[in-house]
């Protein structure tokens, strides 16, 4: 799916005109299709970190061409930089200077991925400086990449090796088309938990996944992607969206559960449906959300309360029910928003709820870890949906084209891919995190 | 109730066409019309009915006509003849009797008062029928003179009811008596009886409703051939001094029987016409059990909402 502008400037005379005028020419992003190659070319592994070795081995095991030095005359599918050993800002130089020429050879929709460790309060200042330095380098490089290429990083917590299941799963996610609209982000792997799936094309096989707000837009895309990855879907939405919910449920061969999630017993009803009809509950995606935009000076009670009730309060209540039911290994993925990170004019209520989601996720991580599960959030940036179609055209054009590094809005499927990844058992070592799917928009971190 | 011994039977090759009968009736009317009231039954010995019966053999129902009839009445397409359809087959022969030169009453303007019919057994659509018709029982009525026109229909197959010989080897399967009134006509010396007191009409609970369009009479005529102008259009009826055109009495009878007559076996039925059904019309229809008229008997009434007398009423009883 591409927008009209993108099509116009990607071909024919308009392409030349756009080029000369310096207009942004968004690239067609490489998106995941089962059985297609993980990356569009060989992978160059740079850097002297300990991670270089296990990462290379895993890449070879995945059937990729792996080079430790830039191969002559070959376009690179990805460049991975093992920065996990840097202890001084000076340590960044060698790999950085090799990375420059390599990026020149990067294929369209290629990948640059750093593997490093997060700076912590107890680190020696030089160590922390070097580690944070990786983030600055990567985020800036990501803005320099063109042709749909992205730059992201994996942060390995102290004691977690690059061979940890979630580190490898994160690596695979970032290499693949699943992360098409994830750019300039760091995925933090906090533990060695998790297990690689038997089949990377069906990582959710046998899992029962509940998706709220599944009737339309991002929710429908989530249901489709989770189903594609093998999950049995319980599609939840309000009765008023029943017709669309039916279509989605029938398309993904799941069941439709008409339910207002603000009901006090919503969590219980979801559990009951999932257990009785599908014999389990493994994944819950808190996607249902509403906007009732208004400047705060004009905000009324109904607008404020309904947004908070749907977008965050319902999630808190349902999570309590799920934790109370002790569903071992339950993985939750909640929808946050870049508005909740950077703020957005007219969205005080919405941003409060979405920032609240991120707070909830961080604070709930330990509780879900205790039952062998996990909870994370995904914060979409500008995504082309029915909801954003209501944004005025100029605002939309700016949001879509100028702000993100990828110079385009994302698609619902991009958000869904990130959610599917975080919902998988392989991502069990990632907990309490918020992953942005924003094409590296300018707003926020 | 059978042909009296001294009545002479005239056997005709075929039924006289109704159009010719109506034309003859019109000529007769023109010749004998005396302006104003007080017309008398004409001719010497005018109180006498001619002692003749007309008979036509080999009368058969036309299948397509039967189908159109059954459709018009909302009845089911069957291979047996509805009672009113049999009446329609016999009607031209009966008319032949009424328009004969020596028949003492004017046909045009005669009012159909009642019918009593014995439909003695199921009559197949393929049966060759013999129709014998005559007039009898000329008698005064409070408004003029009335006469019964009897038609007997016999078939070779025999009747399962009481058999009265109407032709060699045949039994009467259908016998109808139609009573007509020549309004304002008196036989010489006849004394009209008092108008009987009529009980107030108490409309029964309706069980149905007929909506009769303006062309009801033309539809009926196109099937059974009774092109009497009083049924055809407002204009043709006014030409004969009517306010508007009216439904055929036998149309009402046919509709009533379509929902009340037994679908198999014989039955007797009767109908009395009390008020003309001016077209178009909405007729309220009521059926009810009439145990006093025999087991399985039904009575029916057609009426107009709020009217002081019904359009018609009658009974049907299985034989």
């Amino acid at each position: 799916m591409t927008n009209r502008y993108q099509k116009l400037v990607s071909a024919g005379p308009a392409k030349e005109v756009a080029k000369r005028l310096g207009l942004p020419r968004p690239a067609e992003l490489r998106r995941y299709r089962p059985s297609e190659p993980l990356v569009p070319g060989p992978v160059l592994v740079l850097g002297s970190g300990a991670s270089a070795e296990p990462v290379s081995e895993q890449l070879l095991a995945w059937g990729l061409d792996v080079y430790r030095h830039q191969p002559q005359g070959r376009r690179l599918g990805a460049v991975i930089v093992a920065y996990d050993d840097v202890s001084h800002p000076g340590d960044l130089a060698d790999a950085a200077l090799e990375l420059g020429p390599a990026v020149r050879q990067l294929a369209p929709s290629g990948r640059v991925i750093t593997v490093s460790r997060p700076a912590r309060a107890g680190d020696a200042p030089a160590v922390a400086a070097a580690r944070r330095g990786v983030e600055g380098l990567l985020r800036s490089l990501a803005r320099e990449l063109r042709g749909g290429a992205t730059g992201n990083g994996i942060l390995l917590a102290e004691g977690v090796g690059a061979g940890a299941p979630s580190a490898l799963a994160a690596l695979r996610f970032l290499l693949s088309g699943r992360s098409a609209y994830v750019d300039g982000q760091f995925l933090s792997v906090g533990s060695e938990n998790g297990a690689a799936p038997e089949d990377w094309d069906r990582p959710l096989a046998g899992r029962v996944a509940v998706v709220t707000g599944a009737a339309r837009g991002i929710g429908a895309a989530i249901a489709r992607v989770l189903a594609r990855d093998g999950a049995k879907i319980v599609a939840v939405d309000v009765p008023a969206a029943g017709g669309a919910l039916t279509s989605v449920a029938n398309e993904v061969r799941g069941t439709a559960l008409q339910l207002d999630i603000t009901r006090a017993d919503a969590g219980h009803l979801i559990l009951e449906h999932a257990l009785e009809r599908h014999g389990g509950l493994d994944i819950v995606v808190h996607n249902a959300g509403i906007t009732r935009d208004k400047l705060l000076v004009n905000m009324d009670e109904a607008r404020w309360k309904s947004v908070l009730a749907v977008n965050i309060e319902s999630q808190l209540r349902m999570n309590e029910a799920f934790l109370g039911a002790g569903r071992d290994g339950l993985r939750i993925v909640s929808l946050a928003s870049t508005s909740g990170i950077a703020g957005n004019r007219g969205q005080t209520n919405y941003a409060a709820s979405k920032a609240g989601v991120m707070g909830m996720v961080e604070a709930s991580a330990a509780d879900f870890a205790a039952i062998g599960g996990g909870i994370n959030a995904v914060a979409p940036g500008f995504i082309e949906t029915d909801m954003t179609a209501k944004v005025p055209v100029p605002t939309r054009a700016v949001a879509r084209l100028l702000m993100p590094s990828l110079m385009q809005g994302g698609l619902p499927v991009d958000v869904a891919e990130a959610i599917a990844f975080l919902a998988s058992d392989a991502a069990a070592g990632i907990n309490g995190e918020t992953l942005r799917v924003c094409g590296q928009s300018l707003i926020g971190r | 109730m059978s042909v009296v011994e001294d009545r002479r039977t005239i056997v005709l090759d075929q039924a006289p066409p109704l159009a010719r009968s109506y034309a003859a009736a019109a000529r007769k009317a023109a010749a004998s019309a005396v302006p104003g009231l007080g017309r008398s039954a004409r001719g010497a010995g005018g109180q006498e009915l001619p002692p003749v019966a007309h008979r036509v053999g080999g009368v058969r129902a036309e299948r397509s006509r039967l189908a159109r009839y059954q459709r018009l009445m909302g009845d089911t397409l069957r291979d047996s003849l509805p009672s009113v359809f049999v009446h329609g087959l016999a009607f031209p022969i009966a008319m032949g009797v009424l328009v004969a030169d020596d028949f003492p009453l004017p046909l045009l303007g005669m009012v159909h008062l009642a019918n009593r019919v014995e439909h003695r057994r199921t009559i197949g659509a393929d049966e060759a029928l013999t129709v014998t018709a005559w007039a009898e029982n000329l008698r005064p009525h409070f408004a003029g003179t009335q006469v019964d026109v009897v038609a007997e229909v016999s078939a070779p197959g025999g009747a399962d009811g009481d058999a009265s010989a109407a032709g060699a080897g045949s039994d009467v399967v259908w016998r109808g008596v139609s009573t007509y009134l020549a309004r304002g006509v008196d036989a010489p010396g006849a004394v009209r009886p008092q108008r009987p007191s009529r009980p107030d009409f108490d409309a029964p609970m309706r069980t149905g409703q007929w909506r009769l369009p303006a062309d009801t009479g033309r539809e009926y005529a196109s099937i059974l051939g009774d092109w009497n102008p009083i049924h055809l259009s407002s204009l043709s009826a006014r030409a004969l001094g009517m306010k508007r055109h009216i439904a055929h009495g036998m149309y009402s009878a046919g509709r009533a029987l379509a929902s009340t007559a037994p679908v198999a076996g014989g039955y007797t039925w009767s109908i009395e016409f009390e008020a003309p059904v001016f077209l178009p019309a909405t007729v309220q229809f009521a059926v009810a059990d009439a145990a006093e008229a025999g087991p399985g008997a039904l009575q029916f009434t057609g009426f107009k909402r709020g009217a002081s007398r019904p359009y018609f009423s009658g009974t049907v009883a299985p034989r």
Partner: protein
């Protein structure tokens, strides 16, 4: 048959308990819409497809081969000669799912569901979907009888002369189209006019009818408010509630309406648009299965479809009211199942008109009627009115003829399942002096 079988047919026991249970798994319908409104563009096939698809989504039946789908419509286009099969082909069900049309006027849905239940009981089917659909907005309009005959004759004509002869029979008045009415073909009276006669005969008051209508609206509204219909209804074309529902109606408002039926009864006319069902569009479907089927597919079991019985009365000859057939069918059903009229926790009596329900109840309470018409020793007696149509009925929800049976069966099955025990009685009257009644039992 094995040669050792006894020569005389043996009825193993009375009632329908000798064979396996037929279980109501659940139901789905689209909200019912007043005619010429929200669903004005939708055909019977469209609506039935939507109802079936919603059922498929609710129970995850995508790609499933269901034993049989039986449904129907009262008002049908000639193009809908295979309505249900065509609808099935448009759903997410396995295209190898057989389907057939049933038609029994307003009892179409009940007859479809009941006969499917029988097949399940007999082991002929493991799963089945029964239901119905009707639209008065997209009703078939036929050419006049005259034009139709001219056209038929024309098409049969072999020569130009014959064709000319056929065309010569055409009359301008034949151009007027025929729309279907709700009139009884044999009497020419509309259903409402028929019921007006019955209502008057039983002396049912205007107040009693309005009270029943009010209760229907209040009960339906309350059921929506407690989310009762969340798993019984699927939004369609922007409508997520029956739009005939007037949650805020009052006896005063109902009392201001003028009579629309039985106006010939003068001051005794009691039937208004408020205590009669409006013309409505909608569709419903009910999933039935054997116990094993439900268990194997992890599907809920709401109630057993215990038994059903059809009845008919002679309204043509004025011997009984058009919509009184259930009054006759119920005692036979009770007798067969060894029950009394009071042995039920719920009564679902279809509200074709408030007068229909009240006349039926009055008849059952009437000693004379029960003795002379039903041949019983005594009156069937009164029912506990607090158990009547507790989740609303047709006066509030509307009545898309063939879809009503599916609405009632699914509603009652869920009510029984919620209660966890007991049984319910269904009574649905139908055009042509017919009716179907049924018993459901909680699971």
């Amino acid at each position: 048959m094995a040669s050792s079988a006894p020569s005389a047919p043996q009825h193993p026991t009375t009632g329908a308990r000798t064979v396996r249970d037929a279980v109501v798994i659940g139901g789905n319908r689209i909200p019912f819409a007043r005619a010429n409104g929200k669903y004005a563009d939708a055909s019977n096939q469209d609506m039935l497809t939507a109802a079936l698809d919603g059922l498929v989504a609710r129970f995850g039946l995508q790609g499933e081969r269901i034993g049989a789908v039986a449904a129907g419509a009262v008002l049908k286009h000639s193009r809908d000669f295979n309505l249900v099969r065509e609808a099935v082909l448009g759903t997410a069900l396995d295209p190898a799912t057989p389907a057939y049309d049933v038609q029994m006027a307003c009892a179409t849905g009940m007859e479809a569901i009941g006969s499917l239940a029988n097949k399940i009981k007999l082991g002929q089917l493991d799963s089945a979907i029964g239901g119905g659909v009707d639209t008065t907005s997209d009703a078939p309009i036929a050419v006049s009888e005259g034009l139709r005959r001219v056209l038929l004759e024309f098409s049969r004509a072999r020569s130009g002369k014959q064709r000319l002869a056929a065309l010569s029979k055409f009359r301008p008045k034949d151009l007027a189209p025929n729309a279907p009415g709700t009139g009884e073909p044999r009497t020419g009276l509309s259903m409402g006019e028929h019921q007006a006669l019955t209502t008057a005969a039983w002396g049912i008051t205007r107040e009693a009818q309005d009270e029943l209508a009010l209760a229907s609206h209040q009960n339906l509204a309350a059921a929506y408010d407690r989310h009762f219909f969340d798993d019984l209804i699927t939004e369609y074309r922007g409508l997520s509630r029956d739009n005939n529902l007037r949650a805020d109606t009052t006896l005063e408002k109902l009392g201001t309406l003028k009579p629309v039926f039985g106006k010939d009864l003068g001051s005794k006319a009691t039937m208004t648009a408020g205590n009669s069902t409006p013309l409505t569009d909608g569709a419903s479907a009910v999933l039935l299965g054997s116990e094993e089927y439900a268990r194997q597919h992890d599907l809920p079991m709401l109630a057993n479809f215990v038994d059903f019985e059809a009845g008919a009365v002679d309204f043509v000859h004025g011997r009984e009211g058009l919509l009184m057939a259930p009054a006759y069918a119920v005692p036979r059903l009770l007798e067969r199942n060894g029950l009394t009229l009071q042995d039920f926790d719920f009564y679902e009596i279809h509200e074709a008109f408030a007068g229909t329900v009240l006349s039926t109840l009055a008849a059952w309470e009437d000693e004379d009627f029960c003795r002379n018409k039903l041949g019983l020793d005594a009156a069937l007696g009164p029912i506990d009115r607090s158990r009547l149509n507790v989740a609303g009925s047709s006066l509030a929800a509307g009545h898309p003829f063939a879809a009503t049976g599916g609405r009632i069966v699914a509603t009652l099955a869920k009510l029984l399942h919620e209660k966890g025990s007991g049984r319910g009685l269904i009574s649905v009257c139908a055009a042509g002096g017919q009716g179907v009644v049924a018993i459901l039992e909680a699971r």
